[in-house]
């Protein structure tokens, strides 16, 4: 049973208040204008060691060893008793001998009854000690995980740096031009992943999304530094952009690396000048990655088109991304599209060639050769 005074009124509102207090599983108090307890829920008495039989009539601030006599609480409740409609979310620490300090959130509202001379204060008390401890524990866990993530990132960065160094050392020391070429390509593939790792490490909040234009620009800088003797002759440019997950970006980065290296090796023979452009456009779930150059273009004789490891890597990664690979002349030069089509876009007026959705959901363009 809740502690409540003998019924001294027939006011139905007051009766209702007492019934609510009696039924409440959360600590509730009804105080009079002198801050004396007019009613207290069993949950309040249980939570704060109050004898329900003697609670009524006692001044709240004098309970126990006056642990409730917080100056701010006294002032706030006094203000409510004097007519302030309510106080919300007052936070205090309750210190009781032999018990851990509890963190309480207190709300109080003024109740005015027609048949009572004095106002009443309905006081709700929420013990948030455990919730706060949980929050602190969660914050600490998040911080620990962030430290671990930073440590993992540091180790990954170190490992990639060592792998990259070994490949470059081998490339410098081999006497075979073909082997040196292969080792340098392998170094670029490692650095493609490394550039992504560096971009992710720069994200202070551990965000795992990757802004592609920045990433592709970083890849271009790295490839240009090692493969372009005179950067006034051939330029690498990243256009468009979008944000994708780290998992998708690592595949896109490797594809770009392969296609740019391929263009640098074959599109600009004999010191020819030119430009390679990496573009990325997304429309909802659909996206297109393109790498185009304005070089000499593909040989007319298909027998002269070599397909090596780079081609295999591009096709495999595109398949992993559920995308198609299309290569076409660009007049001048060559363009390669990597295209992921999840849904057909109705009325797409992006300026691209009209698309045809095939029975298996893949979009094809008749002018491209696959």
């Amino acid at each position: 049973m809740a502690a409540h005074p003998p019924i001294d009124t027939e006011d139905p509102a007051h009766s209702l208040t007492m019934a609510v207090i009696e039924a409440s599983l959360n600590p509730l108090l009804l105080l009079d204008g002198e801050l004396r307890i007019a009613g207290a829920s069993i949950s309040f008495c249980d939570a704060f060691g109050i004898d329900p039989a003697t609670a009524v009539g006692r001044v709240l601030l004098e309970l126990g060893i006056e642990e409730w006599d917080d100056p701010q609480l006294r002032a706030l409740l006094g203000a409510v008793a004097s007519g302030t409609p309510q106080i919300a979310a007052f936070e205090m620490e309750l210190e009781r001998p032999g018990f851990d300090t509890r963190c309480l959130i207190i709300n109080a509202s003024l109740l005015v009854y027609e048949d009572l001379d004095q106002p009443r204060l309905l006081v709700a008390v929420a013990d948030v000690t455990d919730a706060r401890a949980c929050e602190r524990s969660k914050d600490e866990a998040v911080e620990r995980l962030a430290v671990l993530l930073r440590e993992v990132r540091h180790r990954v960065a170190n490992s990639l740096q060592i792998v990259s160094a070994v490949l470059l050392q081998n490339a410098r020391r081999t006497g075979s031009a073909e082997t040196r070429d292969s080792l340098t390509d392998a170094h670029h593939r490692v650095m493609s992943v490394a550039a992504l790792e560096r971009q992710l490490s720069a994200s202070a909040d551990g965000d795992q999304s990757v802004e592609l234009r920045t990433y592709f620009a970083s890849l271009c800088d790295n490839i240009a530094a090692s493969m372009i003797v005179d950067q006034n002759k051939v330029s690498l440019v990243a256009t468009g952009g979008g944000v994708v997950t780290a998992r998708v970006s690592v595949s896109l980065g490797l594809i770009v690396t392969e296609l740019v290296i391929n263009a640098l090796k074959h599109a600009f023979p004999d010191g020819r000048t030119g430009r390679i452009e990496i573009g990325y456009q997304a429309h909802g779930p659909n996206w297109t990655l393109s790498v185009s150059d304005d070089g000499v273009g593909m040989p007319n004789d298909p027998a002269l088109i070599r397909t090596g490891l780079g081609t295999s890597i591009v096709k495999a990664l595109a398949r992993q991304l559920e995308a198609t690979v299309d290569v076409a002349p660009a007049a001048p030069g060559t363009i390669v599209w990597i295209e992921h089509i999840q849904v057909a876009l109705v009325g797409d007026d992006s300026g691209q060639a009209p698309a045809v959705v095939s029975s298996d959901g893949r979009r094809t363009s008749p002018e491209r050769t696959i």
């Binding site: 930073r150 960065a157 160094a165 470059l168 050392q169 720069a202 530094a225 003797v229």
Partner: protein, 152 residues
Amino acid sequence: MNAPHAAERGKTLMIVEDEILVAMTLRDELETAGFHVLDLTDRHEEAVAVARESAPDLALVNIQLRGHDDGIELAQHLKELNIPVLLISGQVSRAQSAKTVAIGSMPKPYSALEMVGAVRYLLAHLRGDESRGPPAGLEVFDTTTDHFAPAG
């Protein structure tokens, strides 16, 4: 690859890095680019001794060194010797906290050629030459020219 500026060719560099393969690759690329690289070191005291003897124009310092030596403490020591430091570490947040003792940070993983570009940029920056932009990945700390006299 861009040709090194005449003012940078022959500048002396010091590499303090506990991963020997990484240090060797850096040394090879920097020497190919025309820089003079001092003997590789991976400990604090050893690095300070080399720095006192040879007064390099720039020191490339990893944060994690051999024997639990700390690259940021070394950077502080080198700053007192008026030797500018470029931090080369994957410990990005620690590098960020060392802005008062280093002139920049090039976080791992970097390509050795990117590092050559970073070194060229910083040496030019120390001379007050801002004609070229910093390469990808390099973070330049603003205190550079306030704390170090232009290299001769």
